[in-house]
Amino acid sequence: MLELIVISTLNGVLFGMLLFLLSSGLTVIFSMMGVLNFAHASFYMLGAFFGYQLTRWIGFWPALVLAPLLVGAVGMAVERYGLRNTHKHGHVAELLLTFGLAFAIEEIVSMIWGKSPMDYRIPAALDFPAFTVFSTNYPAYKIFMLAVSVTIFVALLVVLKKTRVGLIVQAALTHPSMVGHLGHNVGRVFMLVFGVGSALAGLAGVIAGPSLVTQSDMAAALGPILFVVIVFGGLGSLPGAFIASLLIGLIQTFAVALNGSLESAFGPLDPGLGPSVLTDVWNVTIAQIAPILPYVLLVLILIVRPMGLLGTRET
C-alpha cells in the first residue's frame, strides 16, 4: 500500500509537471493575446511525432533540441499568418481558427504516420531503473522527465521575474491592452510568446512521447484536460495553473492506480436486481472513472467558485 502511494505520488507529480508545462504556455498565450489556443495540445502532439521521427533519423538527443524548435517555428507561423489575420474578426474567430487547426493537425498527423501508436523508444542511455521503491523499479527516464520539467519551470520563473521580456509578459498577464499602449512591438512580442509557448508544448511532447503513448489521438485526449486545468486554476493565473496541474495530475494517477469500486468495498449487489444505473455505478472501478474525474472537478469548481482557484480575470 505504501509502495502504491509512493509510486503514484511520483507518477502523479510527474504528470502534474507535464500538465503544467503545457498549461503554463496556454495561460500565458491566453492572458497576453486573449486567444485560447485550442491547438496547444496539437503542438504537444507534433513535438512527440517530430521527436519520434527525428530520433529515428538523427538520434534522441539531437531530436530533443531540434523538435521543439521546429514546433516553435510552426507556432510562430500560425501566429503570423493565421491569428494575426483573424484578430480583427474577434476572439470567437480566433478560437475557431485554433479549433480548425487542431482538427487539421490531427488529420495530417494520422495521414502521415497512421493511427496506431508509434514505437518511440526510451533512449538506451536512460533505459535503466533509477532506484527501487520497495519492490518496484522506478525508471530513470521518468526521473529525466521530472528533471527537465523542473528545469523548464525554474527557467520560466527566472525569465518571468528577472528579465525585461518577463516583465512585459507579466504585465500582459493582467493588463494586455496596456502593454500595447506602452509602445512595445506587440506583434513581435506576440509572435515570440506564441512561438515559445508552442515550443514548450513541443518539448513536453518530445520527452513524454517515449513514456506515454505517441499516437495521433493524443492531442484530443489531453486537450480537454488542459482546459479543465486552466479553468480550475483560474484564467490568467500561473500559480493557479500550477496548483491545478499538480492536483489533477495526482488525482488522475491515484485514481488509475486504485482499483477499488463500491463493489470491492461493500460486496456485490444482489444479482437478482439485473442491469440498472445502480449496478453500473456500484461495479465501476475508480480506475474506470479516472478519465472523467477532471471534468467532475470542472463542474464542481464552476458551481462553487466560478472564477477558478486563483482567478483574477473574467475572460
Binding site: 487539421a104 488529420e107 479553468v231 470542472l298
Partner: protein
Amino acid sequence: MSDAAAPTVLKEESGALRFYGIWLAAAVALIVLPLVFSSGGSLTSFSLIGIAIIFALSYNILLGQTGLLSFGHAVHYGLGGFLAVHVMNAVANYNWPIPLPFIPLVGGVGGLAFAILIGWVMTKRAGTVFAMISLGIGELVASSSLILRSVFGGEAGITTDRTALPHMFGWSFGPQLQVYYLIAFWVMVSAIAMYALTRTPLGRICNAVRDNPERVQFIGYDPHVVRYIAYGFAGFFAGIAGGLTAINFEIANSAYLGATQSGFVLFAAFIGGAAYFFGPILGAILVTYLQLGLTNVTTVSLLYFGIIFIGIVMFAPGGIAGILMMHRPLIRARSLGMVIPSYLVAAVPTLVLALGVILSIETVARYTASEGEGNIINLLGIPFNATAPTTPVVAAVLVVGGFLVARITWRRVAEAWDRATTVARDRGYLA
C-alpha cells in the same frame, strides 16, 4: 391613413407575400423532392440533411443569436436520441398508445431536460469560458455514457424497431420514404418554430445579449436568465434532431454524444453563416453532402473539412450566407455586373491552387497505400501516381503558381468591389 403611409403598407404587404411565399416554396420542395430523386441513396441523403438542418438551426440559437459558442452541443442531441430509443422500446413492450410521429418530441424533452439541469451553471459565464466548459461537459457525458451501460448500452448502443410502434395513417414507417416524410414534417415544424422564436421579445433580447451583455443589464434584463432560456430552447430542438436520428438508424450509441458530432454541428452552422437564419440550413446541406461524398473519394475527408473550416474562418467568417447577403446591396443597386468579371478571372488561379492542394494532400495520403488502385489519384480525369517523383513537383507548381496569380486576381476583385459599392452607395442602397 395618409398617402405617405400607403406605399409603406404596400411594401409591407408585398414583403409579407414574399416571406410566406418562401416558406410555402420550401414546404412544396420538401414534399416534391423525393418524387424527383427517388433512389435509395437520395432518400437517405435527404433524411440525413433534414436532421442536420434541425440540429444546425438549434445550434445557431446559441451561436448566432445569443453569442454562445458551444463545443458540446451533441450532448442534447445524443440524450434526446437515447430517450427516444428507450421510449420507443417501452412503447413496443408495454403497448403504450404513442405513434411514431410523436417520438421526436420525446427526444426534444430529453434534450430539454438535460439543458435545464446543467444550463444554469453553464450559462454563468459566457464567451471563451463557456466554450471550454461546454467541451468539458461534453467529454464528461460522452465518457459517462460508456460507464453507465444499462442506460447507454456501452459501445454497442441501444437498438430499437421503429415499425413496432402504433401506426399512424396506416404507415408503418418501415420504408425510408415514410421516414423521410416524417423528418421533413419535423424540419418544417422546427424551422418555423425556431424562426418564430427570433421574432419574439426573448429572441430580440438574445441578440442584444449577444451584442452587448453589459448594456442589457441596464435595460432591465438579467443576461444569465436570457442565456439560460436560450440554452433550454437549443437543447430542446437538438433533442428533436437526436430523436429523428434514432428513428432513422434505429439505434442510439455513444457516438451521438461525442466530440465529433459536436464538431460537425459547429462546422455546419459556422460554414453556413451564423449571422443569418438560413445560414445553418445551407451549412447543414453542404456539410452533409461533403461528408457523404468525400468519404467515397478520399481517405482523409476530415482533413478537407478542417481546411475548408480554416479557410472560412480566415477569409469569410460570415459563412456562405454572409457572402451571399454581402451581394444583396449590389444586386439591388444593379452594380453586381461590375464584380462578376473579376470573379471569373480570379476563379481560375484559385481553382488551380485548390487542385494543387488536393494533389499534395492525396499524394501524401496515398504514398503508403497498397500498389495499384490505392496509389492512383484521379484529378479531373488525369491519373497521377502518388509514388512517382513528378507528382509532388506538379503539385508544388500548381500550389505556388496558383497562389501567386490568385493573389493578384483577388486584389482586382477587391478593387472591383470598391467601385461597385461606391455605385451602390451613390444609388442609396448602402447606409
